[in-house]
């Protein structure tokens, strides 16, 4: 997490390590950010270019959206780091509640 305390007596060692870590982190973020923009472009293109059927466009856009959510959570909101177990538990519980609702609405309300 953000303010983890260093347990090394020599601050420089730690600093070096942290620099390297941060650089890596930055690289991941830039890559996922580029990918996300790319996905968005695809989504726009799929709708904009004529000739694709609805049955192709809708699932593809939804899939791209799902991938973006994962990127958002794992790369930008630090879900891939350690110590996020509780957060993940709550996120997935919320997801479960939401999905049950959607399931019920699609089967018995809107049918």
């Amino acid at each position: 997490m953000a303010n983890e305390q260093s347990n090394s007596a020599n601050p420089n060692v730690d600093l070096k390590y942290r620099r390297k870590k941060n650089a890596e982190e930055m690289k991941h973020q830039v890559i996922s950010f580029t990918l996300m923009i790319f996905f968005t472009l695809i989504a726009f293109a799929a709708v904009g270019i004529e000739g694709f059927s609805h049955w192709f466009i809708k699932p593809v856009i939804l899939l791209l959206a799902a991938v973006q959510v994962v990127f958002q959570l794992y790369y930008f909101m630090h879900m891939k780091h350690k110590g996020h177990g509780t957060i993940a538990l709550f996120l997935f519980s919320g997801l479960a509640v939401g999905l049950i609702t959607v399931l019920v609405f699609t089967t018995i309300v809107w049918l």
Partner: protein, 623 residues
Amino acid sequence: MSTYANKKGFGATIWDYLTTVDHKKIAILYLISGGLFFVIGGLEAMFIRIQLAIPNNDFVSAGFYNEILTMHGTTMIFLAAMPLVFAVMNAVVPLQIGARDVAFPFLNSLGFWLFFFGGIFLNLSWFLGGAPDAGWTSYASLSLHSEGHGIDFYVLGLQISGLGTLIAGINFLVTIINMRTPGMTYMRMPLFTWSTFVVSALILFAFPPLTVGLVLMMFDRMFGSNFFDVAAGGNTIIWEHLFWIFGHPEVYILILPAFGIFSEIFATFSRKRLFGYSSMVFATVLIGFLGFMVWAHHMFTTGLGPIANAIFAVATMAIAVPTGIKIFNWIFTMWGGSVKFTVPMLYAVAFIPTFTMGGVTGIMLASAPADYQYHDSYFVVAHFHYVIVGGVVLGLLAGINFYWPKMFGTMLNEKLGQITFWTFLIGFHLTFFIQHFLGLMGMPRRVFTFLDNQGLNTGNMISTVGAFLMAFGVLVMVINIIITSVKNEKVGNDPWGDGRTLEWAIPSPPPFYNFKQLPLVRGLDPYWVEKMEGKTEMTPAEPLGDIHMPNSSILPLTIAFGLFVAAFGALYNMDDKTWTLPIIIVGLLITFGSMLIRSVKDDHGYHIHKEDLMDDKDKGGKA
């Protein structure tokens, strides 16, 4: 309360409470306002029972009856039971986990003021053209056609107070995850803390559907959208789903804290470790989990189809399993214990058969085909009063009696407490037991009167008599509270003599920083563990040092007040009144202005210095 009044002027005390961010004082604020709304809701209940005492009564008109009935349910659930639950949580949970306050003291205060202004807003409808009249469930097919502004008061009032509840829930989640004292692992948390934890998670997931439902309802009524309007292509059933996706977890949000309170009381006064602690934790979590998959049992008769009805019926019945686990664990806790029948323990013992009866009628209602008979009859009214009054209210009364010394430093009178207990319990069963049979005989719920010669007269009369007995019990409790506060005889750390958890290891009421040194927890029931080793206090987990405290602030009140003002503007804006727009703007300016001040002004709190914390003993001990 009274201790401060002696030292400070009256105005200063009021200001202190308006600006406080201390969880113990916020608990008192919740207790007072929840108690006030409980009395208002109780008065409404009395009017209902007077009207229904005899056939063809004209004590109130049909339309007015609908308003009273609606406000009774809405007030009791949202404005009485919820805040009273929060009162106990605020008073106890930080102490039980060995914390100096909740994680976000400022938000804690904000949550309270949002609830408070939402509640006041809702109740002002009485004076401003009529209260909501479509039942506490406010089904869209009724409420969209309700005249006047009653429903709008309902929508906006609940929206504001619901925001407060959501904030409070999140606050407790973070507090319990992050603020436990060294050694307080999850599986050493007292059961009341566990139930608070699960309940907060339920709040987090259950209140957003309500928020969404209320927003859609607001759009339908104020801006002419048609989400629920069947004639215009909407679907009225959507409101019912959204309401019950919130509504069923909500009933568990109310009952789980009561379960938690009773678990503490059973262990304390049986002077025995809670039987089956880990199965109790498991059952609490499981109830919370299953609570989200059963909401459609309120809608069996709307025509969901046999498959959906069957699935929801089975899921509903499954909840009886973890509930049964709990009931047996409480009984086994008493078994072989050296039981002491204090007032809280009386409530706890009476709760078991009473709540079990409510559970049994619940299972009856959960059988979908049978529910076609029971639905919308007094049988349902009997069911939910057995679980809510027999569970939640008994739990709150027990909790208030049990924790009163910890909150105020005085003991409530035992004799008067027993009078309250017996009159309330007997009155309760008189009022509601007979309603099972009224329902089976065909008396529909939510009717303002009934005809003579239908065999309903005696039952309704008995029910009304019982209601007066309950009212008498509550009156005695109020007198008890007044007498106790006036006498003001202070008690020590552990006034019941058998305290097991951390809150009983510190003075009553605790100092504003709670723990001078955070305590070290060495097992379940940590204070009991120390007592068994012949110690009288907890072992500290840290050396004595400066304590960081948050500053008081009036901003939570102004943030909530701004929304309250804006809500009036929004409400009358529908009538195309020109003065409403400035009101909305002023209200939102107050709210967002206060938020801005909060954001830009640095407030780092203050420190209590180590030297000021040291008493003679500490100085001697250091050497």
